[in-house]
């Protein structure tokens, strides 16, 4: 009798458990289709033209000058810590907030997520402030972490700012996971970080790099990379509270498609681009034409890249932009490329950085530092007329990085790119593993440049 009662009680427990689970699962649905970016509303803020002849030449596309070519560089990050992995997001007042990872001599263990705001009217960056770090993240998550990693900022459907960043486990980046924090006041204050569980094996090996996109139902797609044992690109889907509700594999392991980003081209069309370790030295692309329900297998695109991080953007007129390194020049050059045929073909719109060839030119250390000083002056208006003492601090930080391989090697990497409400394109990237550099490009110049014949 007792055994029978026990079995009945267990049966009741099982039935109640599954009734609850089915109720929860039935309320957990989402659709496919993309939300298009907000249209450009504000008038473009005039951007002061740069003084450097070299940059003017670059923006005017060499032999084909464009009247309103504009580019205003700034070094965003401060001195004393190396900076990398920048992410940009537009604030409600039209300013741009940047986030990046800064590390001191302790490397990953003392890395922190830093933020600063660019005021387009004043054409200047605010002082950088720490948003989160290893100790604060460890305390909030109530678990040991090895360090903090790449931040990615975005605006959620409810209007809040969301900041994702990676945390390394005991196996460094192979064991990385993603955490999320949010801000209701445009980044002045942040919630405690919350961990996203994205893989079944110890939650190891999910890294974030590219900006999220929004589905038509307000849920968010987060392009990520799985990198534990095998490497493949995925899309995590988050509901409006930031909970993971789905994940979708874009390519199976072995294709070595890394750091995917998604360009929304229409309500049903999107293109995912991914850097890759392939002999062709080309970016891989994966397309969808059913709102993200299915993604076509990875194909080699026409975009050349030496397996380095890239940033890309879809404009409202259908044109695509990408910022990336050139495979023949390594990371010593960085170019802005455009496509007007949906990514079938790409052409360079302007070279943002070009320091190729100096590495093996046999420059003496003093000559290399002279070149670096010149580059620093042209990278920030505040340094343009700076005295030697002011410049020396920056040079002391950048010099060892440029000289670290014995030659004179420059490196421009990890780009991020957004389009703000006034149509301007903001690009930021890691400048010689030392600083974050920011450029602003006027959409009128860009539109004209895209229309020019090849």
């Amino acid at each position: 009798m007792q055994e029978k009662s026990r079995r009945l009680a267990l049966l009741a427990l099982v039935l109640v458990a599954f009734a609850l689970a089915l109720f929860k699962a039935s309320s957990w649905h989402f659709g496919y289709g993309f939300r298009l970016p907000e249209p450009v509303l504000q008038a473009a803020v005039p951007v002061p033209a740069p003084e450097s002849k070299k940059f003017r030449r670059g923006m005017r596309g060499g032999a084909n000058p464009v009247p309103s070519g504009r580019l205003e560089p700034h070094l965003v990050s401060g001195i004393g810590r190396t900076a990398d992995a920048v992410s940009l997001v537009e604030l409600k007042d039209g300013s741009v907030r940047a986030f990046w990872r800064a590390a001191g001599r302790g490397g990953a263990a003392d890395a922190a997520i830093i933020s600063a705001v660019f005021d387009p009217a004043a054409n200047s960056w605010s002082e950088a402030q720490e948003v989160s770090g290893r100790a604060a993240t460890r305390r909030s998550l109530r678990r040991q972490i090895g360090g903090v990693d790449d931040p990615v900022a975005t605006r959620a459907a409810n209007g809040a700012l969301w900041l994702f960043y990676g945390t390394d486990g005991f196996a460094a980046r192979r064991s990385s996971a993603i955490v999320l924090m949010s801000s209701e006041d445009e980044g002045l204050h942040w919630s405690a970080p919350r961990r996203l569980v994205t893989t079944p094996f110890l939650n190891f090996g999910t890294r974030i790099k590219a900006a999220p996109f929004v589905y038509a139902d307000g849920t968010m797609g987060l392009p990520v990379q799985h990198q534990f044992i095998t490497r493949f690109p995925e899309i995590l889907r988050l509901d409006q509270t930031g909970k993971v509700i789905d994940k979708q594999r874009l390519a199976s392991g072995g294709r070595a498609a890394l750091q995917p980003l998604v360009l929304v081209r229409g309500e049903k069309e999107a293109l995912a681009l991914s850097r890759a370790e392939n002999a062709e030295r080309r970016v891989l692309s994966m397309a969808t034409d059913d709102g993200g329900r299915h993604w076509q297998p990875a194909q080699t695109s026409g975009l050349r890249n030496p397996d380095a991080a890239l940033a890309a953007l879809a404009l409202q007129d259908g044109a695509l932009l990408a910022v990336l390194n050139d495979p023949e020049r390594g990371r010593e050059s960085l170019s802005l490329q455009g496509s007007v045929d949906g990514g079938a073909s790409w052409r360079e719109l302007t070279r943002l950085e070009e320091m190729n060839g100096l590495g093996n030119a046999g420059l003496a250390k003093s000559q290399c530092l002279e070149v670096t000083a010149h580059l620093l002056r042209s990278s920030d208006p505040a340094l343009r007329n700076a005295d030697a003492a002011q410049l020396s601090l920056r040079l002391a930080a950048a010099g060892p990085q440029v000289l670290r391989q014995g030659g004179c090697h420059f490196e421009f990497s990890d780009p991020a790119m957004i389009r703000t409400g006034n149509g301007d394109i903001h690009i930021a990237y890691t400048w010689n593993r030392t600083f974050i550099k920011h450029l602003r490009i006027d959409q009128r110049w860009l539109t004209q440049r895209l229309k020019e014949p090849q």
Binding site: V16, A17, A21, S26, V197, T230, K243, R249
Partner: protein
């Protein structure tokens, strides 16, 4: 401390107690003293030292333990604290659960970690198919006279429904990597023993 952190940290506090309760000195204590010792050990594991508890250090390496692991840990600790009491589950019950975990682990981990284009982990995000499959399995196990397996499945599914952990994926409530390794080892060992016995017979 929110409930997901408490449950996650408690799993490691309980897991740490299990080997300690096997120490010869502890085994000589009476039940009340063992209970007091276990309670003190639990508190020690949970109290933050220099900003982080010992359980938090382990949690940072392994991640949260599944509810199935907690059920087995709870049963094992009960047996350690009450050596005179009848074990909660007999060998058949335990073997059935470990076989189930082994099969699920083989279905999940290789594919979720990138072997092939399919990702079974995705089904843990509210897939009706996975829930129905687990329900049928639990009912079948009940009909076969098993209790531990349906209890473990029901516990995992209920925990997922109430979001007891920070994970939103049902698989994380059913099994975890340490449990999968233990289950695979125990199941393989059991099958090997059976084969040896048959050969000798």
């Amino acid at each position: 401390m929110n409930h997901t952190d408490w449950l996650g940290l408690s799993g490691f506090a309980l897991a740490s107690l299990w080997p300690v309760l096997h120490l010869p000195y502890i085994r000589r204590l009476d039940t009340l003293r063992r209970l007091l010792f276990a309670a003190a050990g639990y508190v020690l594991m949970m109290v933050p030292l220099f900003g982080l508890s010992l359980a938090g250090w382990l949690r940072g390496i392994i991640g949260d333990l599944s509810l199935t692991t907690l059920l087995l840990l709870g049963s094992a600790l009960y047996a350690r604290l009450n050596p005179a009491a009848t074990p909660l589950w007999d060998a058949r019950e335990r073997a059935s659960l470990l076989l189930f975990i082994s099969v699920m682990a083989l279905m999940l981990y290789p594919f979720a970690l990138g072997w092939g284009p399919l990702d079974p982990y995705r089904s843990g995000y509210g897939s009706i198919g996975l829930i129905v499959m687990l329900a049928l399995l639990a009912l079948w196990a009940l009909r076969r006279g098993l209790a531990l397996l349906p209890l473990a499945i029901a516990l995992a599914v209920t925990g997922w429904s109430f979001a007891c952990y920070e994970s939103t994926n049902l698989w994380d409530y059913l099994l975890d990597a340490p449990l999968a390794l233990y289950a695979l080892g125990a199941t393989a060992g059991g099958l090997l023993q059976q084969a040896i016995r048959r050969k000798r017979a």
